[in-house]
């Protein structure tokens, strides 16, 4: 019995180390949120980013049988609140996965806040926006450079 899930390089993010998928709450091309059982313990797994992207970020939290029942019986309005409360714990595990490769990195997270999914979502969005702007700036700089070169008059002409 362990309060943190065991995950390792190359494993499927929604089914690490011989775990059994008990319930799937969200699915798009793969299970994105649900409950798995490993070594007799239940864990809530949750894709926080990368639902349709090649790179994804996952959170795993230990839950009890009663928590699983509560989630299964929750109304649409209650569901996300319960999900956040279950993620709020002393220790959780986060992992990065790459499409068709599996988990490539993971780490222990202590004192996980109830707002973890929102916080991670905001940070990832900010990161991607910066990457996007950098891409635009680099493209514009290349175009400007190409334009300057085309206006050069060959020496001796």
């Amino acid at each position: 019995m362990s309060d943190v899930i065991r995950v390792a390089h190359g494993q499927t993010p929604w089914q690490p180390y011989g775990s059994e998928v008990i319930e799937v709450f969200n699915f798009y091309d793969q299970p994105l949120m649900g409950i798995i059982r490993q070594d007799g313990c239940l864990y809530l797994f949750d894709c926080l980013y990368g639902h349709v992207e090649g790179l994804s970020l996952w959170l795993y939290s230990l839950i009890q049988e009663s928590d699983a029942q509560e989630l299964a019986n929750a109304s649409a309005d209650e569901f996300d609140h319960i999900r956040g409360r279950l993620h709020a714990s002393e220790r959780g595990v986060m992992a990065i996965a790459i499409d068709d490769v599996g988990i490539v990195a993971n780490g222990l997270v202590e004192n996980v806040p109830e707002s973890i999914s929102e916080v991670v979502g905001i940070l990832v969005d900010e990161y991607l926006e910066i990457v996007r702007r950098m891409g635009i700036h680099q493209r514009e700089a290349r175009e400007l450079e190409d334009s300057d070169k085309s206006q050069l008059v060959p020496a001796g002409s």
């Binding site: 319930e23 799937v24 709450f25 699915f27 996007r132």
Partner: protein, 134 residues
């Protein structure tokens, strides 16, 4: 897929119903195609889409559970149950708790292991891609 407890019952799909596939371009590591072309090798269930016509913003809410932080990267494209059926694809309503209009696409002959030419056949079932963030 393991058993799930959807909030809506599974239903038969009509041929004239619109199918929306949602995807996003990935900028980290270079821009790549927005849409999944075939089921994952590890996937025994099929390729996901949604029954009904959704904007990229609406599709993001259904799949991610929140608005996309980079809506200009989001994409949707549309087909119909009939167009997919006529090319041998099997379209099944498979609602989840978070996405009542989720559907799975498999192929009547190839199941979830699609040869390259079938990926192209699948792509041809869809109309022009619509970008998000507009």
């Amino acid at each position: 897929m393991a058993e799930t407890t959807p909030l809506v019952p599974i239903r038969a799909l009509r041929r004239d119903e619109i199918v929306t596939q949602y995807g996003a371009v990935t900028r980290a590591g270079g821009e790549v195609g927005a849409f999944r072309k075939c089921p994952r090798p590890s996937d025994h269930d099929g390729l996901s889409a949604m029954v009904g016509r959704y904007t990229a913003e609406e599709a993001s809410l259904l799949v991610r559970g929140r608005p996309s932080g980079t809506p200009e990267d989001d994409r949707v494209r549309y087909s119909t149950v009939a167009r997919l059926h006529d090319q041998g694809f099997v379209v099944t309503h498979k609602p989840s708790r978070k996405n009542p209009n989720h559907i799975l696409v498999t192929h009547s002959r190839h199941g979830v292991v699609w040869p390259k030419d079938l990926e192209e056949t699948f792509r041809m079932c869809f109309d022009v891609t619509v970008e998000g963030g507009g």
